[in-house]
Amino acid sequence: MEPSKLDTILEGRQSRPDQLIEVLQDMQTQFHYLPEDGLRIVAEKLGVPPIEVIRVANFYKAFSLTPRGRHLLTICMGTACHVRGAQKLLDTVAGHFNISPGETTPDRAFTLERVNCLGCCALGPVAVLDGVYYDHITPGKLLTVINSVCRKDKKGKKKHA
């Protein structure tokens, strides 16, 4: 974590406990997770007890306390997606990576998240990989997409080497 980036986030918000959630949101966007040393600084600067900061960080789903992978795969588990087979989708991907939802692969390549509704219910089941929405997706098609991302990563690495 670069401390200067946290300073920018905290600008104008010092000693304002009501800004806690907004600050954590910005931190999550900036660092992709909430680093512990950052949370200590936030607690001190906003004037909120550290335990309260941890409670809030644990309570809301938008926050992650562990670093995320290079790719973020989110599976929508809304009702409309569920009746069209979202559970199969999640199980297949979790099985493929051998991780549970909310976890990151050991090589830090993928983080798998479940979300309770993305609001694209008419297009379900929906998966979002690195901000790109895949509608009416099936387990087979999703694995194909994942494999092509992995292949691109490998090619990229070779070029660098």
């Binding site: 309570f59 509704c117 087979g140």
Partner: protein
């Protein structure tokens, strides 16, 4: 500086903007909400920009990028004005042809038109499409008229005139009286009369007061608030400013969930523009009334949509509910009077002020007047946002607008109202969608999600799904909700695994009643609804799981097996290669077999097989 100093200036600005639009009537409207973008609308927009420029029409044709039009299934879609030609399921390579043929030569491209699934005929205009025909789109129809990032578009179609009318010719009490006469009820869940909320908040003695827009649409299966805030943010702002004037609030908040990035962005832009035009801030439209508001992002907690929890979240605290012996209209945000309204409720307000309460009352029923947006999804042909008067029957929505079941299957139920709502069986599709009728049937309008279920949906699995959702989202503050939902989920899971006894069914009902009676907030109080309604209407399905260890819909994994029909299998090896678990064996050109012990029942083989040889038993 664009600041509008008074109502007359607003009227003349609106006229100028309207004339400008009329000068250049040829417009291509591309719908580009979250759903549209998910289906590739941004590429279509780019293609239009490029082609209009390349074919020399950049200055002759207006390109309007709007929010969602509601017909998600057909996205990305474009409308060519003034003829209103409706093109759907577009890809960027269709665009050069639209420009060269339709825009330059006036020719309609048949292959891009919508095909009526019943008559098989091509349809040219949106209004002739069955999905739109049976709707009454007073709110949603505005979306296609405006670019949500341009306040000028909203002003051109008469935006903020209701605000001007209120500020110049109505007392706060008169505004409340007009809303009361309209009978407007909250569109976010309970259906509480809006005017009564405003009145109580106005009468509260403490100051300052707050007005808050609840855009924390966490209900899975509902996305109308996203669509309205994304596609027409100024209508929400206008409703809020009118509300603020009525209750005497100086400050407001829009609490929008962070999972809706486009809605967040559009609302932010709208706030800035409204401020720039003097429609927010000090001395609005020169009336002496001052009001401003701030956008706050919800951080992903379903329970934080509850009023007391939402106010806590606004203060930067844990979004947990508290007992409601003192209501938030008296002691809410910062312990001060705070009025909370849903997105859709607020955007109804300017329409009521402009058209009068009688106009609003003319739609719907006496107790549930007006129109409401429903999100129609699941196992139905036409999915999307549907706006209908509140006396419309379920069958009209599901069959006339929704087009009925997919693949000739039979529809057996519709789940209305999300995790707080219930499943209504097909026998009751004659019911109107008003607040009372749905509550009587064990469901509720809730936020207006409508998920259609067919013979391949297991109702026990649906009940389990909602319990799992609620267990995940319960804040854990009160015992009935925290432990009760856990126990209910345990029992329902046992049923789906085929290891439950019949005694557990009555225990499930008893638990449900206890949780309803004793939970702290709305989440817990309504949590048993999905289970209780499925038990009420689909008890036979529960019994099949318990007595015969059978899932009639073929969904519950512990009770189903995948197998290959040797008659149909050609031995093409596609399934064998696609199985991620290596559960399929067999030689080329000979029938394959699935090893039940390795099979994870993911269904990929069934999905990949072109010969329909994979069967579920």
């Amino acid at each position: 500086m664009h600041r509008v100093e008074g109502p007359e200036q607003l009227t003349s600005l609106s006229r100028v903007l309207q004339e400008k639009r009329q000068e250049q009537p040829v417009t291509v409207v591309v719908s580009s909400g979250t759903c549209g973008q998910a289906k590739g609308s941004l590429a279509v927009v780019d293609a239009f920009r490029r082609e209009l420029d390349r074919q020399g029409l950049a200055n002759k044709v207006t390109l309007r990028v709007t929010g969602c039009h509601g017909f998600c299934e057909q996205e990305p879609l474009a409308i060519v004005e003034p003829e209103n030609i409706f093109y759907c399921r577009l890809r960027s390579h269709d665009v050069p042809k639209i420009v060269s043929e339709t825009l330059l030569k006036g020719k309609i491209l048949d292959e891009l038109l919508y095909t009526d699934p019943i008559s098989g005929k091509k349809v040219i205009h949106e209004a002739e499409i069955p999905f739109y025909r049976a709707q009454d789109r007073v709110l949603l129809s505005q979306n296609k008229l405006l670019d949500p990032c341009k306040i000028e578009d909203y002003i051109a179609i008469g935006g903020y005139t209701a605000l001007a009318k209120v500020l110049t010719s109505m007392k706060p009490e008169e505004v409340i009286a007009e809303i009361k006469a309209s009978g407007l009820r909250g569109r976010g869940g309970g259906g509480f009369p809006t005017a009564r909320k405003w009145e109580t908040c106005r009468r509260a003695s403490a100051t300052p007061k707050f007005i808050i827009c609840n855009a924390d649409e966490g209900d899975p299966g509902a996305f109308m608030n996203r669509s309205v805030l994304e596609g027409n943010p100024h209508s929400v702002l206008e409703g809020m400013i009118i509300g603020a004037y009525a209750i005497g609030a100086e400050h407001g908040f829009i609490y929008v969930r962070t999972e809706y990035p486009l809605a967040v962005e559009h609302a932010r832009i709208a706030l800035e523009q409204a401020r720039e035009y003097g429609l927010l801030g000090k001395n609005i439209l020169g009336s002496g009334f001052s009001f401003d508001m701030r956008l706050v992002r919800g951080a992903g907690a379903f329970v934080s949509g509850e009023s007391t929890a939402l106010m806590a979240a606004l203060e930067g605290k844990l979004g947990e509910p508290r007992p409601k012996d003192v209501h938030t209209v008296e002691k809410g945000y910062g312990n001060l009077p705070s009025n909370l309204n849903n997105v859709e409720t607020l955007s109804d307000v300017p329409l009521i002020i402009n058209n009068g309460s009688a106009w609003f009352r003319a739609k719907g029923t006496a107790k549930s007047p007006g129109t409401k947006i429903f999100a129609l999804t699941g196992k139905v042909k036409n999915t999307g946002l549907v706006e209908v008067a509140l006396d419309t029957r379920l069958k009209t929505i599901i069959y006339d607008i929704g087009g009925g079941a997919i693949d000739g299957k039979e529809i057996k139920a519709v789940q209305v109202g999300g995790p707080s709502g219930g499943c209504i069986p097909a026998e009751l599709f004659n019911l109107p969608v008003d607040f009372e009728a749905l509550t009587e049937a064990g469901a509720m309008i809730g936020s207006g999600g409508m998920v259609v279920m067919d013979e391949n949906t297991c109702m026990v699995d649906v009940a389990r799904y909602f319990l799992e959702f609620l267990q995940d989202e319960s804040c854990g503050k009160c015992v009935p909700c925290r432990l009760g939902i856990d126990r209910m989920l345990e029992i329902v899971t046992d049923i789906t695994m085929g290891r439950a006894t019949e005694k557990q069914l009555s225990l499930l009902e008893e638990l449900g009643e206890t949780i309803t009676l004793s939970s702290l907030c709305g989440l817990g109080k309504t949590a048993p609804n999905p289970v209780l309604t499925t038990l009420r209407y689909f008890r036979l399905e529960y019994e099949a799981h318990i007595r015969e260890q059978r899932c009639p819909a073929g969904v519950c994994r512990a009770l189903i097996h995948y197998a290959i029909d040797p008659e149909k299998c050609t031995g093409c090896q596609v399934c064998l290669r696609s199985c991620p678990h290596g559960a399929i064996t067999g030689e080329r050109k000979k029938p394959h077999t699935i090893n039940d012990e390795i099979c994870s029942k993911c269904g990929i083989c069934k999905e990949e097989c072109k010969f329909d040889a994979v069967i579920v038993k």
